[in-house]
Amino acid sequence: MEELQVHLRLEDKLAIVDLSGDVTSFAEKKLLAAYDKAVAQKVKCLVFNFSSVNYVNSAGMSILITLLTRSQKQGVALRAFGLSPHFQKIFDMVGLLKYIPHFTNEAEARASCGW
């Protein structure tokens, strides 16, 4: 089932991951592949754009946790913007916002990376 479109914008030390669709168990392959591609390009900050995401379920959040495990080992910072108020609440409930800080827009998320 194709539920999520992932577009990677690679820049020097920074990558924006534009997501469109649903973040569920079906998104795992694409999300891990985008992360691996960014890390292979020596990216140090990965910003997820959730502006076009309609739905994130618990399996989708577990993929983000898997990415957190990898990113902490590899010294890559994770950031996010564009989550709906509901999913900001859910991410906060789970504790994810502590490790993947959420910003109002792309400019603020980029600025938080230091580039």
């Binding site: 379920n57 709906s84 609440k89």
Partner: protein, 156 residues
């Protein structure tokens, strides 16, 4: 003079009605939970729940159905997950039935994010945690030979 018939505003369910019950039968395939999720959300909107409560219900119903498919019916597509959406005068009840015997006790313990990040716990296992925190009342019941039912209630 002919009596004027009282007309309900479109999309509003009278609180005195109890015939608005909706039943769904889903195969135990991940993805189909969205059908129940959207049906429950539509009912909640018609009853006048706020947008944030509707969103809470969407996530709770979705996670309950996923649990029923995965843990109750072991993702056997032939085993159906039955969903009953029942609007009441002051509340909305959603029941999710599966063929299982209920949750393992490990599923009831609170997930620990840091342990999951460190790889000491499976990164999955958030469903029950979310359901508990998003609905007003949650109840599980195992019926011998009949299966398991999760009952979610949201109060207006």
């Amino acid at each position: 003079m002919p009596r004027k018939r009282r007309v309900k505003p479109p999309g509003v369910i009278s609180r005195s009605e109890n015939q608005g019950e909706v039943r769904l039968s889903l195969p135990s395939c991940i993805g189909y939970e969205k059908i129940a999720m959207e049906a429950a959300a539509a009912m909640a909107r018609m009853m006048g729940f706020s947008i944030s409560r509707v969103e809470d219900l969407r996530t709770a119903v979705s996670e309950t159905c996923i649990n029923a498919m995965e843990h109750g019916n072991k993702l056997n597509a032939a085993n159906r997950v039955e969903v009953l959406i029942r609007p009441g005068p002051q509340s909305l009840m959603v029941q999710v039935f599966d063929n299982g015997t209920g949750f393992e006790s490990s599923m009831h313990s609170a997930p620990h994010l840091e342990k999951k990040i460190r790889g000491e716990e499976d990164p999955r296992g958030w469903g029950l945690f979310l359901i508990k925190h998003l609905v007003d009342h949650l109840e599980f019941k195992t019926m011998p030979k009949l299966g398991h039912v999760a009952t979610l209630t949201m109060t207006l």
